[in-house]
């Protein structure tokens, strides 16, 4: 590959100027003429039947234009997460837009649209709802007991799903083991904490066609889900892509209650309707599912795994939503595929409770598994006096082997060992003290954790239509407009995709603009999730730019009187290889294509051939051929205060084989931000609910603590191991999710190294440290 001019360079984000001066492109800023504001009436009870709703007083309040109750809502059960039609049929459809059965505290039971939000809020207080309270259950262990309150008719023992996978001979594997380790790990419910609230505006035209502006991570998924829940053909729903959204992290993957409710209210009133969630509403909208993991591992004296059994009990809350698929990803990428182990069984239970529903959150089931497995590996090493790096490497996959999930492709690039070795060197692993060997009251420790296998999209698992699309259109001034469906939720894809297009087209980065898109104008794309956009959408962008370039060469070849094979584009100028001075500007080629008679050559007028006429565009809609795995090792140093139990993360070294890095500062930003979420997951974040009323007790940022600049380690070192992935755009793989998957177990292991306290339930609070030290 010739030397790259834009890919791999430290470039500035294309949206940074706009964002530092005010940033107008967020869905929270959408306002339409005549727009109404809606509010949701939410149930104060976690489990109840709605017997009667009296809206008469609310309807009479000045400014109120419509009230919506379950009786006026299509009773079509839906699943709010987008999957391909073939897979969607197997998903558990257990939600209604408004239902007469309440299954968690905060579930909407009615809605009001009014001229002003204050009037809508006031009207909620005038709605009288008669509830029949039902017994509620919040603990998944209790929910599966006989006699527990039944939450859904279809789910006996409240088990929504019970997947199980095994290979090898588990019993023999445990017999062959020299040691067997058995532990239980528990993770907590945490929120994505995007800072822009979930918000939408829906406008119905006079024939009931809907246009939707929403803070969504996936315009096509929202279109499909909204049409399904409302019983409409998808062609009647258009979802406009927001130029930006204020963070997502998986928390804006699914359709919420707000979009279908706004749609119905807009149809009812003939006016656009907007809902902006409050922060409290956001906190009870979706969360990372808590999972309790029972983990049993058989191991030889030398650290070779012989058998592994894991059982995961996932609290899916009131509805299945992501619960089923999070559990599958958790099972496969968390346990079965993680390291080599010939005899394995994993089984999972997705359990209904009267808690809030779960959702996507960066890592999607993997952080819970990583906490269990990577913690237990260190427990094994401690007992067997083995080095945690050596044990991991002994059981690791290797480059070139068939992919353990789908042997139809190989781990073509996989530098896991290099991640561990370079990371170890940077943190000073060789000088790591043995556990709890420091004197004094503030003890330091070093720990590590890995995510050996992860994804660059979803090919094969689950099959959610791993397609990407792009349209690129060249302008007469030599610039290019690029349209894609994937939403930039902050990760910087707009910059990365523009770099890929600019590199392929041979134009300066500033010449590529990411433009408008909606579900009617651009090809399908899967969501901005699963660490997939750079890899998958990047491939589509590269292909679209390549197609446009081909048309440019066809015309330029004749203008320059040369064969197209000899042409290249440098800095927006089409020229014969090696002689950049002789050539024609890209803009002039576009002019030639768009105009019938243009003087283009020194010796006279050149007539364009009919076949060359028209706007120069390139389009692509494709599925990547592989799902290459990144590999991750993270090392952290912590300091534990043995008098207060407080844990401080001092240093982080993150070594990661992500393929070719497209934009280094963007990639570093992913690691640094993932570390913030990981430190929060490890040490402080926890959504807490009252165990009687089901009410959220941590519904704002004063009670739900996420790390501020003061809680963050001052030193975060990124080591990118740039394998050149042959299937990726300019050699790229993926990055986003492992940055949050590994910190919690790395910190847990470092805490153990510092003070000899093993915490197996997150978060690692001062209380747990002090209890472990025998001080509480």
């Amino acid at each position: 590959m010739s030397e790259m001019k834009i890919v791999g360079k430290r470039v500035l984000r294309s949206d940074a100027y706009d964002k530092v001066t005010g940033g107008r492109g967020y869905p929270v800023n959408v306002r339409l003429p005549g727009m109404l504001h809606a509010k949701l009436l939410r149930s104060p009870y976690p489990h109840a039947r709605v017997l009667h709703i009296d809206t008469s007083k609310a309807e009479k309040l000045a400014g109120v234009k419509a009230v919506l109750t379950p009786a006026e809502v299509p009773q079509i059960k839906f699943h709010p997460v987008f999957f391909s039609p073939s897979l969607a049929a197997s998903m558990i459809r257990d939600m209604l837009i408004l239902s007469d059965t309440v299954r968690f505290a905060g579930q909407p039971v009615a809605a009001v649209a009014a001229v002003q939000p204050e009037a809508a809020e006031e009207a909620l207080k005038l709605i009288h709802v008669e509830y029949e309270r039902l017994p509620a259950v919040f603990d998944p262990d209790q929910a599966v007991q006989s006699g527990a309150p039944r939450i859904h008719e279809h789910a006996e023992s409240n088990v929504a799903m019970h997947p199980s996978f095994s290979f090898g001979d588990l019993e023999r594997g445990f017999e062959e083991a020299d040691y067997v380790f058995e532990n239980t790990y528990q993770t907590q419910r945490v929120h994505t904490c995007y800072l822009e609230p979930r918000v939408c505006v829906v406008e119905s035209d006079s024939q009931g066609n809907l246009t939707v502006w929403s803070s969504t991570q996936h315009i096509f998924g929202l279109r499909e889900k909204l049409a399904f829940a409302l019983g409409l053909p998808i062609s009647t729903v258009k979802v406009v892509k927001p130029p930006y959204i204020g963070g997502g992290f998986g928390g804006k993957l699914d359709m919420g209650y707000i979009e279908p409710i706004c749609a119905l209210l807009s149809r009812k009133t003939g006016r656009p309707v907007r809902i902006e969630q409050t922060r409290y509403e956001d906190f009870i909208t979706t969360a990372r599912n808590p999972i309790k993991i029972h983990l049993k591992t058989g191991v030889k004296k030398d650290g070779t795994f012989t058998a592994r059994y894991a059982k995961s009990i996932l609290d899916t809350g009131a509805h299945a939503t992501h619960g089923a698929v999070v559990l599958m990803v958790h099972g496969f990428y968390g346990f079965l595929l993680r390291y080599r182990c010939p005899n394995q069984k994993w089984e999972g239970y997705t359990v209904y409770t009267n808690n809030m529903i779960g959702g996507g959150f960066r890592g999607y089931g993997a952080p819970q598994a990583a906490f269990a497995v990577e913690s237990q590996i260190d427990e094994i090493c401690e007992e067997l006096e083995l080095d945690p790096i050596e044990l991991r490497l002994k059981n690791a996959h290797s480059e070139g082997q068939p992919h353990p999930f789908d042997p139809s492709f190989n781990l073509s690039t996989y530098r896991f060992e290099e991640c561990l070795k370079k990371g170890a060197e940077a943190i000073g692993w060789a000088d790591r003290p043995s556990a709890n060997s420091m004197g004094g009251t503030r003890k330091r420790g070093i720990g590590l954790a890995c995510q050996p296998l992860w994804v660059s999209g979803c090919i094969g698992f689950p099959d959610i239509y791993e397609h990407s699309g792009a349209i690129i259109k060249l302008n007469v001034d030599g610039t290019a407009d690029l349209s894609v469906a994937t939403v930039d939720m902050g990760c910087g894809q707009n910059t990365v995709l523009a770099q890929i297009a600019a590199e392929e087209l041979g134009v300066p980065l500033e010449a590529v603009r990411i433009t408008y898109a909606d579900t009617e104008t651009v090809p399908f794309d899967a969501p901005s999730h699963a660490s997939r956009v750079t890899y998958s959408a990047g491939l589509a962008v590269q292909a679209a730019a390549g197609a446009a370039k081909k048309r440019v060469f066809d015309i330029a070849g004749r203008l320059l009187n040369t064969s197209v094979e000899k042409l290249e584009i440098t800095n927006g100028r089409v020229h014969i290889e090696g002689s950049a001075e002789k050539g024609v500007s890209l803009g002039d080629v576009v002019k030639q294509a768009e105009s019938p008679y243009v003087v283009m050559v020194p010796d006279g007028t050149q007539r364009t051939r009919l076949s060359e006429k028209g706007t120069i565009m390139g389009m692509a809609s494709l599925a990547p051929t592989s799902n290459p795995s990144p590999a991750t090792a993270e090392f952290v140093e912590v300091e534990v205060d043995t008098e207060t139990g407080e844990v401080k993360v001092l240093r982080v070294v993150f070594a990661h084989d992500i393929g070719r890095v497209i934009n280094p500062p963007g990639a570093e930003g992913q690691v640094e931000g993932g570390t913030q979420q990981g430190v929060g997951y490890a040490l402080m974040e926890n959504l807490v609910f009252d165990q009687t009323s089901g009410a959220c007790l941590t519904g704002d940022f004063l009670d739900y603590k996420i790390p501020t600049a003061l809680e963050m380690p001052p030193e975060i070192k990124c080591i990118f191991i740039e394998s050149n992935e042959p299937t990726g755009p300019f050699g790229a793989k993926s990055l986003a999710e492992p940055c949050l998957i590994v910190p919690a177990p790395a910190i847990a292991n470092a805490v153990y190294n510092a003070v000899g306290v093993r915490v197996r339930d997150l978060p690692i609070t001062p209380e747990k440290i002090l209890a472990g030290l025998g001080k509480l």
């Binding site: 940074a16 005010g22 995007y194 800072l195 822009e196 690691v671 004063l702």
Partner: protein, 154 residues
């Protein structure tokens, strides 16, 4: 009942009609269209709505519009002078301190106020100075770099 008040925002006198309970954030966004100031929580927890009030950083969601009368209010829209970015804005772009951008305007205003009072801070002081503003994308690392770059060499 609505009251007529005058607010000095970005060196311009603005006449607005407000209810006593309405916040400065509400007035900026909903009445004056100054949407660079973001609403992240409306409960004084995130810092997205940070503006300068007499050169001090405040959460606009925690200030009644009435109480901002007679004070000098600066929002993100008022930082640019003659089309030229403020050094803090420049530094945020250069350092790659912007991701989703939703915290960015509040963060810049917090940094601006902080640097007015402590123009040559240490890294630890910078961290403390922006600790009232949450960011979920960047881990604050490049934000600290940006504020350092915009500060006077100490």
């Amino acid at each position: 009942m609505k009251q007529r008040i005058n607010l000095t925002i970005n060196e311009e006198l603005q006449e607005v009609f407000v209810e006593p309970h309405q916040t400065l954030l509400h007035v900026l966004r909903e009445e004056l269209g100054l949407i660079g100031t973001k609403k992240g929580c409306d409960t004084g927890g995130c810092g997205c709505c940070t503006v300068l009030l007499d050169d001090r950083a405040v959460y606009a969601c925690m200030v009644f519009a009435l109480s901002a009368q007679g004070k000098k209010i600066i929002t993100i829209e008022g930082l640019r002078e003659n089309g030229k970015l403020d050094p803090v804005q420049e530094a945020f772009i250069e350092a790659g301190a912007v991701q989703c951008g939703y915290c960015t305007c509040g963060m810049i205003m917090a940094a601006k106020a902080f640097l007015l009072h402590n123009p040559a801070p240490s890294d630890q002081e910078i961290r403390a100075g922006i600790a009232g503003n949450l960011c979920r994308c960047t881990g604050y690392h490049k934000i600290v770099e940006a504020v350092r770059a915009a500060s006077r060499p100490g």
